[in-house]
Assembly symmetry: C2
DNA sequence: ACAGACATTTCAAACGTTTGAAATAATTGA
DNA sequence: TCAATTATTTCAAACGTTTGAAATGTCTGT
């Protein structure tokens, strides 16, 4: 890379025949610097397109002004949208973000953590991999005084940590309530992998809505899938096994699962297929291309989750919140009727 | 943020009662350092979890080891997948990446460029916004000797620049050839916005395939849309206006457009609807949820595009390629039959 | 015992900023 | 006119590394 003479404070100082500190202070608008001097310096800086060297400033300030974000992947729109919130809030506050994908692989997560540790990020935002049960690779950060905020994925094995999570209980409650209000009495719940805490939180939202509305519940209305398509079909089969009294509505853990389910129900030409009303979590744009779109979606507001994670992290970085004063922030979901 | 005494070379040196430079050289495995000393230093460094301060190194080396990536958004799977290639190759080579989204807004693009300039990235990878026709906000980088590689979106107004592009001509040629081989003689082409150079490259691929196979062409087989749904429907209407001799196959600029098109054709109950064979660019996962999936997809290999962009950038950074020796790299597409 | 040859360690400057303290210049009042 | 005051500029150290040159230590052969 060609090294044209870099424009530094020293270079400006020589050009203007003054000391480096005067130039520095002039650019930082120190009150002790003469107005005319300031003007001269600032004009010269603009003319030569001076940009202060971040590495030098970071070294001086013992900061990197970089936030690390570790997440499973960017193909899932939830994460991609959450990044939008993080990025927005970070840049507004003078921070850049470095994103690292783990593809739900623990080894990669550890690698990412180590890399970001070396990069000396000022803070870390993490959506843990499905495999993560031990958090020692993140402990190093707190040892160095670098705050870590877990978001989206609940690190339920890790008691003392900062979390920003979607209020998935409330989201599932509202979805169920909506279906009840439309007259359904046989509402099925198709959950995600049982290891994920959200699966149970959503189930609780579902069951609470049923109870509060005195809708009877039976266990054949509930099934789980680990996202795999065949697995989903098995689950759906079990939900609709009772042909006398099949469910008339369905709440599904995630939209892709729901789409698989709908497709299957259609393929077997389930009698009341077009009467079944479905709701899934996600609110993805795919919906508009489907022949039988769900009646509503639970919008999880990922941008807001990301923004809240970044906001909390910033408060920790700025010592506005004690690092040991562990916070839990919940972001409400919103039911979107199509 | 709590500042525990930071572990620096100086700190290690004091602990070991030797000079800072010995410690530094021991850690960097200098041949002039005694083996036993090296071992002592390295053990102590490991024990105290010493990690060298990147800012200091960057300052010394006049590098940031950060690559800036400017792109329209991360909701489009093409970009998200391309990031995977960039990230992979960057981290393998000791670089971090900072991603900045422009949302196809020129003002945001300029803002991003300025921010990354201040961050003193070592190189820039850019997919320009739809609005970008002037490239002066990127000139600053080359003025500083920082290489810029344009990828995915062809900056056709910018003659002297490095580019990595998908071979969209070849992709469209193969798609058309495939349909011809299946016996189609009336193949329609639904293009994207006319301002985008890819629209024309793909058209050329289409028309060349027709010509080389002596398939007759008529202009009512071609229409354009700007991605807007209503616009797409208008385009489709014009393509299928000739009810005597309608197209039997369709090549579409992008899958979302194609999905809108299919949905529309189905809704009007086009007579031979289920016979029409379609191909779109993208190969998105949505396909599996559709009732009438396209027969094939043009896989654009975004990961490879990203990796190639990063590879080229690295060669420029390392002076393996002269910065004025402008490169153009084409990445082939692959037809995926479903 | 000592010059010469190596082996090993340390010095010191540099990267580009920031900032309190010290130095200098300009202005005021008596 | 000259000390006192205020305005302005400069000095110098620090942030944590790297690295060529200089210094020190150790060993060899005569």
């Amino acid at each position: 890379m060609k090294q044209n003479t870099p424009i530094t404070l020293k270079f400006l100082a020589e050009k203007l025949k003054m000391s480096v500190s005067t130039v520095s202070k002039a650019l930082n608008n120190y009150p002790t610097i003469n107005e005319y001097t300031k003007k001269r310096v600032q004009e010269m800086a603009k003319e030569l397109r001076f940009t202060p060297n971040k590495s030098a400033i970071n070294l001086k300030e013992r900061k990197s002004r970089i936030i690390g974000v570790i997440l499973p992947n960017l193909l899932d729109h939830f994460f991609t949208r959450s990044i939008y919130g993080v990025e927005q809030f970070a840049t507004e506050n003078g921070y850049n973000i470095i994103i690292s994908q783990t593809h739900d692989d623990l080894a990669k997560e550890i690698q990412s953590a180590n890399r970001l540790l070396k990069s000396r990020v000022d803070g870390l935002i993490v959506a843990i991999s499905k495999q993560t049960q031990n958090f020692s690779h993140f402990d190093q950060f707190e040892n160095m005084g670098t705050p870590v905020v877990y978001y989206t994925r609940n690190p339920s094995f890790n008691l003392n940590c900062h979390k920003v999570l979607g209020n998935t209980f409330q989201g599932c409650y509202e979805a169920t309530q909506f279906l009840i209000d439309r007259g359904h009495q046989r509402i099925a719940y198709l959950g995600g992998p049982k290891m994920i805490s959200f699966t149970h939180d959503r189930f609780n939202g579902y069951i609470n809505a049923l109870k509060n509305n005195h809708v009877s519940f039976s266990s054949d209305l509930v099934a789980y899938t680990d996202f795999d398509r065949d697995n989903t079909i098995t689950a759906i089969q079990s939900l609709f096994a009772n042909s006398e009294n099949p469910p008339t509505a369905l709440v599904a853990f995630k939209e892709p699962i729901l789409f698989d389910a709908i497709k299957y129900l259609k393929s077997i030409e389930h009698p009341n297929f077009d009467k079944i009303e479905c709701i899934g979590f996600g609110n993805t744009s795919v919906i508009s291309y489907l022949d039988f779109p769900p009646i509503a979606s639970v919008e999880e507001n990922p941008e807001s989750v990301g923004e809240n994670a970044m906001r909390l992290l910033l408060q920790l970085i700025n010592d506005e919140i004690e690092i040991q004063n562990y916070q839990k922030v919940m972001v409400d979901c919103k039911l979107v009727v199509h």
